[in-house]
Amino acid sequence: MEGLAHTDEDAPVATDQESRRLEAVRRYAVLDTPEDGAFDRITALAARHFGVPIAIVSIVDTDRIWFKSHHGIDVREVGRDPGLCASAIMQHEPWVVEDAATDPRTLANPLVAGELGLRFYAGVPLTTHDGFNLGTLCVIDQAPRELSDDETATLSDMAAIVMDELELRLASRRIVHQEQHLRDLAEETARSLQESLLPPRLPEIPGAEVAALYVPSTSGEVGGDFYDVFEVGADAWALVIGDVSGKGAKAAAVTALARHTIRTGLLATSDPSAVLATLNRAMFLGLQGARPRHFCTALVVVLRPAARGFALTVAAAGHPPAIVMRADGTAGELSVAGGPPVGWHADARFASADAELRSGEGLLLYTDGLSEARTAGALVGVEGVLEVLGGRDAGERAPQLAERLTRWLAAGGVDVRDDAAALVITAGERAAPA
């Protein structure tokens, strides 16, 4: 038998055991949560079964006893000092007071001696799987009564149901947290992966300005779009844009392969079609067993300074043609011969074509995420992109054009379903090369 007066035995003692119990209470995160049908049904059932007016699911906090469910009494919490539940959780057996007015453990208790006039109390601790008592399921009456062994067993079973419910909730909270953690981790990985696929900054091309934009898809997955701008030898530069089919980490790995193969290839040859053929072999051979098969469309432009701007060599692999913005404010597609998307079949052939970018003109390389964006459900289309870029005044250079596109994409109603990337270059006035 523990102390005679309840106030002695259940005063919150800052023992190790009690602080660990309180940790368990915190872990189940039930304190101060809204009222809830599952627990209310159990207290209603207990009150009806035992024929008592009051049934409570209580949780014993540091200095209060909080009621998760309180059938028949309009109180949400009581102080821990007079609370009988605080006594009940001190043992692992049901704690039964058949007549509190005569029971030495309770007769001085204000809940018994005072207005409430509590006479009968039976509480079963809510014991966690690791042995901590969080609170009780208790039934209370204002008249004394007895509790048979069978009834005690029934009350214990009901308490076990309450505890099962609490364990279930803890488990699902854990799963939700774990999932959130995994999602955060995946998003973080996706972001770093995506960043590694795009050059950190664009190099300077004398006599031209270059700007890029990238819009991730609304799904948040890593997309397969990439772009690159780099020097390929004395006074020659490459602009590359591409789109690998599929999404996620596998597509990102293929995207890295494509980007680096094109970079390395252009060190050996400045013919874009030869580089696309190399990439095709690399992808076709390297990914033969991969399911689903990854394909890659790409547009490669090599620029060399010319008398009035730049001479271009262009090759496409199933990629939308670049858009030329002429000095007079009109815009149109730069049609070139090319070949199929890379990675499809081993004997694909690619062709390069020559073009020019004159001073005052601009060129847009883009992925189809841009032209396949939708406004109010309707496809933007190449026409829509041409419209956004048309009416350019001669002073508008690459950064302003990229900003114009970005603003347009950010404007309400433009839905970018796939990721979208674009590179813009404008040719300024420059001295003819020696």
Binding site: R293, W344, R374, R417
Partner: protein, 115 residues
């Protein structure tokens, strides 16, 4: 706003020729419906995808067609497309699909005897 794309795929069989007729827009949003509707032809059979009523195709849609060409060659069945309208044809041409996949005017033209 959400846009509900109109897309449907209906399959019919005539002897060894499986014909899948596509209607509406084939894009990122509707490709899963196409994939769910795709039959698994046996070796020697023909799968012909009828693109006459397709109003739009994006790169994800083209990738499915390219993947079918790869599977057909690996698994010994044949694959053909019924010629679409000019807008869809333009996207297929961009990917040089005609270099690799047979185009026919009607599903019945795709029977193995004629291929």
């Amino acid at each position: 706003m959400t846009f509900e794309p109109e897309f449907s795929a209906s399959l019919s069989r005539d002897g060894d020729v499986l014909s899948l007729r596509l209607t509406g827009e084939l894009d990122l949003a509707t490709v899963p419906e196409l994939e769910a509707a795709l039959p698994r032809p046996a070796a020697g059979e023909v799968l012909v995808i009828d693109l006459r009523n397709l109003s739009f195709i994006d790169s994800t849609g083209i990738h499915v067609l390219m993947g079918l060409d790869v599977s057909a060659r690996e698994q010994g069945w044949s694959f053909a497309l019924v010629r679409p309208g000019p807008d869809v044809q333009r996207v297929l041409d961009l990917c040089h699909v005609g270099d690799r996949v047979r185009f026919v005017d009607r599903p019945t033209d795709a029977s193995p005897a004629l291929g």
